[in-house]
Symmetry: C2
Subunit: 301 residues, 2 copies
């Protein structure tokens, strides 16, 4: 069975662009056509509204996108009903042929990390996804349960290494003898990159976050992890261009390749008005999607 | 309303010991009297079994303990039914007079972190707890939504700073110009310590993790954060003694104070056999609890 890295690269090659759409159902931005009542987090209608919103987005983007990235916190905010909706959205997306990268940013030690790994990466789980984002703060071995489960089940793991929010530099770029702190993290992942190597495309099922806004850092991470999949953050909303977003990519058979570029709000919420009609909202989402995939497609061509 | 720090310290003063019991319902260790069938993660009975186990533990410890710390991953493993059980366990613990510190290790940026903060620290949430553990890797400002919500609702935030698992040192103790990496994190939290200052006991509702196994690191963190509440890890199972566990505490009106000391498995699973009868299991849990509180009580006396 092809690993996550292989599946991502084969699909993005076929589509001609590396866009990954973030499924971020911010309660206050959900268009009025999906809203029910005051959207109180504890009300059952609210979870249903965000579920319908996400599924409709999936309908609109599935033919043209490789990966969706649901943001767990926005479902978790709604309690167990939010989890029920998240599980349904995950299944809906996978049934539509999308790869699901769950933006969970989990991280814990030993048996506890194993529970998270099994919840998301094992075959028997109701929240099973293709890959998950994880946080390395507890040490390289705290990531092992995720890597082992990913290897076993042909799934992927994306480690937070370099983020694009402004103040992440305050910790991630602290100088150490081995370079900035994030480089220490990146270097320690080389063994997992190799263990999760892709047999078909050469791209690993180990992913790492890189910031489109910090090209030099991206180059450094690429040198440390030549075959890791990049989850590129900071494109669009945070000001980076499409060319900056694919800075760490390499020439492949169908253009530049080596990762996915995340965009969420510009596609999900293309207008600042939430009281847009159904037809108009769909048209605007499709329009934003086409503009974005065209722009990223040109950057990798 | 008294802050989390004040409530913890007042209660631990009254009890005479700083024990915090971790609620870690590991599926394979749940005693046979709670088990139903093969404990498959997706089976509804499984979530109910861990819920009953946790509630019975709460019954047994509530009169003698200040804080319980449910480990989210072990509930999340069971999907939305696990979350439903977690919400009930949280409410059960709070109704029994316990403070609930949710071991969620969440961390994200901006609006996303706000969703997590609201899910756990706001008044309107079905998962509302007294405090939550958070991961700082995304930068000091990624913690702001948790701190702001904690301040507003008189709750607490415990930041992962120094952990006790062996290889956490590989990242957390990397040398920087400002000392080990964890010291950079600790120093950046001083403003939150002050903003969440306790008006009654002087102890902040900002907490940080420290490792009982690394006394020098604990001293360094105490110097950086003189009023922060310590969540002490590594006592018991990981080999640290009770005296080592309270190393960063200070003399108060009723003995050494300044944090809570976590212990989970030695209390929840006092025997290695899961097929112990109900009466015996309860007796052994109570026995383990009394031994632990006696030991910690002697260390702070």
């Amino acid at each position: 069975m092809a690993g996550f890295g292989d599946r991502v690269i084969e699909r993005t090659r076929a589509l001609g662009h590396p866009l990954c759409v973030g499924l971020d159902p911010y309660l206050d931005r959900i268009p009025s056509l999906f809203r029910r009542g005051p959207m109180q987090p504890q009300h059952p209608d609210t979870a249903q509204a965000i579920e319908e919103f996400c599924c409709r987005v999936i309908d609109l983007i599935a033919p043209d996108v490789a990966v969706v990235k649901p943001q767990v916190s926005l479902f978790e905010r709604l309690g167990w009903r939010g989890w029920q909706s998240l599980e349904r959205v995950i299944r809906y997306a996978r049934a539509a042929g999308l790869l699901v990268l769950l933006d969970a940013k989990r991280g814990d030690i030993a048996e506890t990390a194993t529970a998270y790994a099994q919840a998301y990466l094992s075959g028997d789980s109701s929240c099973g996804v293709d890959a998950i984002t994880v946080n390395p703060y507890l040490g390289p071995e705290s990531l092992a349960p995720f890597m082992i489960e990913a290897e076993r089940a042909a799934r992927g793991v994306v480690v937070l290494v370099r983020n694009s929010n402004l103040d992440s530099s305050i910790y991630q770029s602290v100088s150490t003898a081995a370079g900035p702190f994030f480089a220490v993290v990146a270097a320690s992942l080389a063994k997992w990159q190799d263990r999760l190597a892709g047999e078909m495309t050469g791209w690993s099922s180990l992913g790492v976050t890189v910031a489109a806004t910090h090209s030099e850092d991206t180059e450094r991470i690429r040198r440390a992890l030549p075959h890791a999949l990049f989850l590129v953050l900071g494109y669009g909303a945070q000001g980076a261009s499409a060319c900056e977003a694919v800075h760490g990519f390499r020439r492949g058979p169908a253009g530049l390749e080596g990762g996915i570029v995340s965009s969420s709000r510009p596609i999900l919420f293309p207008t600042t008005f939430s009281d847009v009609g159904a037809g108009n909202w769909e048209k605007e989402v499709r329009g934003a999607l086409v503009r974005t995939t065209d722009e990223l497609g040109a950057a990798v061509a």
